[in-house]
C-alpha cells in the first residue's frame, strides 16, 4: 500500500485522472451516440489535437515559468499563411526547408515576446496580448485580403493530412498526429532529463530561490518563449497541411484552446509543475468533449468557446481544491507512515 503512494505524486494523479476521464467520456459517448467510435471521429479528433497539442506543448514551457503566451494563435495563423504563400510561389521548395521556415518564423515571433518579457520586465499577459494583435495585423497586411488555396500548394503538403502511415483496424495514423506525438516525447524528455527542463521548474516554483542558485532566469524565460514560438510555428505548418485554404483569420482562438489544454492537463498556472504529456491529454479531452457534446446534445459550434471556458474554470477550481486536498491527505499518510 505504502509503496504506490510513495511512487505516485499528486501531480501524476492529475494525469491518471485525465486518462480516466477520457475513457469515461469515450464510454458514455459510445453508448449514447450512434457510430461515435468510428474511424471518422478518431481522425477528426486526431487532426485537431495534432495542432492544439503542438501549441500546448510550447504553452506548457511558458506557463511553467509563471508566464503565459496569448499570441500563439496569431503565430499559428501568420506562419500558416506565410509558409503557404512561399510554397504557392515556389512549388519546388524542399519539404524540410518549408518546415524549418515555419519553425524559424514562429521562433522569431516567440523571441520578440521573450525579449520583452524577460528583459523588458513587462508582464507576459499584457505583452503577448499586444503581440497577439500586432502579429495578426502583420498577417492581415501581408495577406492583403488574399487567400492561400489548396490548389496552389504542392501536393505533398495536402497529402500530409490524408496519408495513412499505419492502419490499426479502421483507425488511420497520419503524419500530423505523429509529428505532435514525437514532439510530446521529445519535450517530455527535455522537461524530465535536461538541465533546461529542471531550471524551468525551478524558476516557476520559486524565482527567488532560482536566483540564489545562480540560474540565468532571464535567459531561461527567453528560451521558453522562443521554443513556444517555434512550436506554434510548426503548428502553423500543420494547420496549413490540414486545411490548405488559409485566410487572414487562420488560427484565431488557438490561444484560448492551448491555455485550456494546458490548464486542464494539470500544468499549474502559478508555475513549477506540469508536463507536456499532461498538456496533450488535456487537448485530447477538450476536443473529445467538444466533438461528443456537439453531437450528443446537438448544440451549435458557438457553444464550443463557452465549453472551453467552463473547462478552464473547472480545472482551475479542481487545481486549487482537489490538489490541495490530495496533498494534505498525502502529507498525513506520509506522517503516519513515518511515525510507524
Amino acid at each position: 500500500m505504502a509503496t504506490w503512494r510513495q511512487r505516485i505524486r499528486p501531480e501524476q494523479i492529475r494525469e491518471l485522472s485525465l486518462v480516466v476521464l477520457i475513457v469515461a467520456a469515450l464510454l458514455i459517448f459510445a453508448w449514447q451516440i450512434e457510430n461515435f467510435l468510428s474511424a471518422r471521429t478518431f481522425n477528426r479528433i486526431a487532426g485537431s489535437v495534432a495542432i492544439i497539442g503542438m501549441v500546448a506543448i510550447g504553452q506548457t514551457l511558458v506557463v511553467l515559468t509563471r508566464n503565459i503566451d496569448l499570441s500563439v494563435g496569431s503565430i499559428v495563423g501568420f506562419t500558416a499563411y506565410f509558409v503557404g504563400a512561399q510554397l504557392a510561389a515556389n512549388n519546388d521548395m524542399w519539404p524540410l526547408a518549408a518546415v524549418a521556415l515555419a519553425a524559424a518564423v514562429g521562433g522569431a515571433m516567440g523571441l520578440v515576446n521573450g525579449l520583452i518579457v524577460a528583459y523588458g520586465r513587462a508582464p507576459a499577459i499584457i505583452t503577448t496580448l499586444g503581440t497577439l494583435a500586432i502579429y495578426r495585423m502583420l498577417l492581415i497586411n501581408y495577406s492583403n485580403a488574399r487567400t492561400v488555396t489548396v490548389d496552389s500548394l504542392p501536393p505533398w503538403v495536402v497529402d500530409l493530412s490524408r496519408q495513412n502511415l499505419l492502419m490499426i483496424g479502421d483507425f488511420a495514423v497520419r503524419p500530423l498526429i505523429v509529428a505532435t506525438l514525437v514532439a510530446v516525447v521529445v519535450f517530455q524528455l527535455v522537461l524530465g532529463y535536461t538541465v533546461f527542463g529542471r531550471r524551468l521548474y525551478a524558476i516557476g516554483s520559486n524565482p527567488e530561490a532560482a536566483r540564489f542558485a545562480g540560474l540565468p532566469a532571464q535567459r531561461i524565460v527567453l528560451t521558453a518563449f522562443t521554443l513556444c514560438g517555434m512550436l506554434a510555428g510548426l503548428a502553423g505548418f500543420l494547420f496549413l497541411a490540414r486545411f490548405g485554404n488559409i485566410t487572414a483569420v487562420a488560427g484565431q482562438g488557438i490561444e484560448l484552446e492551448s491555455v485550456a489544454a494546458v490548464v486542464v492537463g494539470g500544468v499549474n498556472t502559478f508555475g513549477g509543475s506540469g508536463t507536456a504529456l499532461g498538456a496533450l491529454l488535456g487537448a485530447f479531452l477538450i476536443d473529445l468533449l467538444g466533438q461528443g457534446l456537439l453531437r450528443w446534445l446537438g448544440i451549435s459550434e458557438f457553444w464550443r468557446d463557452a465549453l472551453l471556458g467552463l473547462l478552464i474554470l473547472l480545472a482551475v477550481a479542481s487545481d486549487a481544491v482537489l490538489l490541495g486536498w490530495l496533498r494534505r491527505l498525502w502529507a498525513e499518510r506520509a506522517e503516519v507512515a513515518h511515525a510507524r
Binding site: 510513495q6 538541465v195 527567488e208 530561490a209 540565468p216 499549474n268 513549477g272 513515518h338
Partner: protein, 501 residues
Amino acid sequence: MHAAPVLEMRDISRRFGSTQALDGVSLSLYPGEIHALLGENGAGKSTLIKIMTGVHQPDSGQILLDGRPVRIRSTLEAQRLGIAAIYQEPLMYPDLNVAENIFIAHADRGPWVDWGRLYRDAEEILAQLDVRLDVRQPARGLSVAAQQTVEIAKALSLQVRVLIMDEPTAALSAHEVDQLFAIVQRLRDQGVAVLFISHRLEEVFRLADRITVFRDGRLISSAPGNETTPEQAIRDMAGRSIEQLFPRRDTVRDRVLVQVRNLGRTGIFSGISFDVHEGEVLGFAGLVGARRTDVGLALFGIAPADRGTITIDGHPVRITNPTQAMRHGIAYVSEDRRGLGLSLPMSIAANITLPALHRYLSPIGLIRRTAEIAAAEEYRRHLSIRASSVDVEVSRLSGGNQQKVMLSKWLNTRPRLLILDEPTRGIDVGAKAEVHQMIDDLAAEGIAIILISSDLPEVLAMSDRVLVMREGRQMGIFSRQEATQERVLAAAMGQSALVTG
C-alpha cells in the same frame, strides 16, 4: 505624579511552539510618560507589542485599560481602544495623499469624501504636532521621517492614548531624530503614554522617563531613567541563559582563505574588514538592523559591494552575481527557507542538485537520475533528513528538515566558504543541536564558515572569533576568549567605551 496607569499588562505569558516568548511579564504605561523597552533580539519585546495591538493573544495574564480588564482581539479593536503602533518602516498607501493616509482608518466620516474638510482636519492635526507638510502631496516620495509623522498624525486623529514606537529612529538622520523626539515629547505633554523601543542606548537615556529591560521573555529590571545607567542596562540585557552550550573542538587556523578589506555598499554598510581562515567559524553578531545579512549577500553577489576588496587564496576577485560566487567556492544558506531557499513543489533530490546540476549529466547532456538520487540519498543519511525517500516534495517536510535540505543543497556545491544566515531560526531544539554538530564537523573538514545569527549565546558558543556590527558598521572583532555577552552587546549597541573596560 501619575494617578493611574492607562494601560496595564499583568502577568502576561505567551508561548510559540517550544519557545516561551513571554513569561509572566507585568508592565504599566502611565499617561504623560515615555517608557523605553530594552532587550536583545528575541527578548520578547515584539511579542509584547503584538499582544498590545491585538495581533497575538496572551496565553495567560490580564490587560487592563483605565483599570478595567479588556480583551484586544484585533488591531482594529486596539485602535478603537486608543492603542496605536508605528514601526521602522511606516505602512503607507503610496498613491494616496497625506490627508487621505491620515484618515484612511476612519470609518466615521460618512460615505462621501468632503475634500475641503478632509484637508482642513489634516492640517489641524499636523499643526498640533507643529510640523509643516503639504497634505495634498502623495505619500510616495515622502522621506521615512515624514512618513512616520503621517503615522503619528494618523494615531492622533484616532485619539491615541497609548503610542508604541518600534525602532522608529533606525532609518532617520540625526536631525530627523531630533524632530521626531520633539514630536514625541509634545505628545507626552499632551498626556499620551509612549512605549519606545530602540537599540540606541543614548537615545533611550535622552528621552525615556522609565527604562525597562527584558531578557528571555522576562522582565529583568524597570527603573526611572535618571536612576539607572547604560552600563547597568547592558548588564541586565546580557547574561542570557545558555541552554546547551555546544562544545566546539579546537581548530587550527593557519591558512587565510578569504580576506575582506573595507567592503561597503552605498547606503547599506561600509568599512567591513576581516579574514576568514580555513576551518574557522567567524560569527557575525549584532542587533536587528545591523546589516549583517547584507554583508553576506554582498559576498555571495546577490547585492554586490561597490567598495573595498575581496581576496580569495591571495587573488583579488570581483563578485557581482551568485554564479561567480559559487565559482569561487562561496555558498550562502539563506535564513528565508521558503522565500529564497527552496523550491517547495520540487523533490528533495531536485532541490539538492539544482545549483550543481552539471555534475549529473550523461555524455549526451541528459540528467542521470540514478547519480542524482544517489547523491541526495547520501545527504539524507548523513544529515538524517527525515523523509521516506528523496523523491518526496520539500513542501511536505518540517522546518528543521527543510533546513537540512537547504544545507545539503549548498554543501553539494562543495563550498570552501559557507555563509550560514540564521541557520537555526524557527527550528526545534533537537534539530538545532544537529545543525550545531554539523557546523563543527564542517569546520573540522576545513571549510571556512561565516555564521550570522541573532542568537547571541549561539554565536558565542559556535564561533572562533566574533565580528560585531551595528547599523552597517564594524564595531570590532573579538576572539573567543574576549567575546563575552556584555562586551558583544555593548559593541552592538554602540557603547564602545564599555568594550575595552
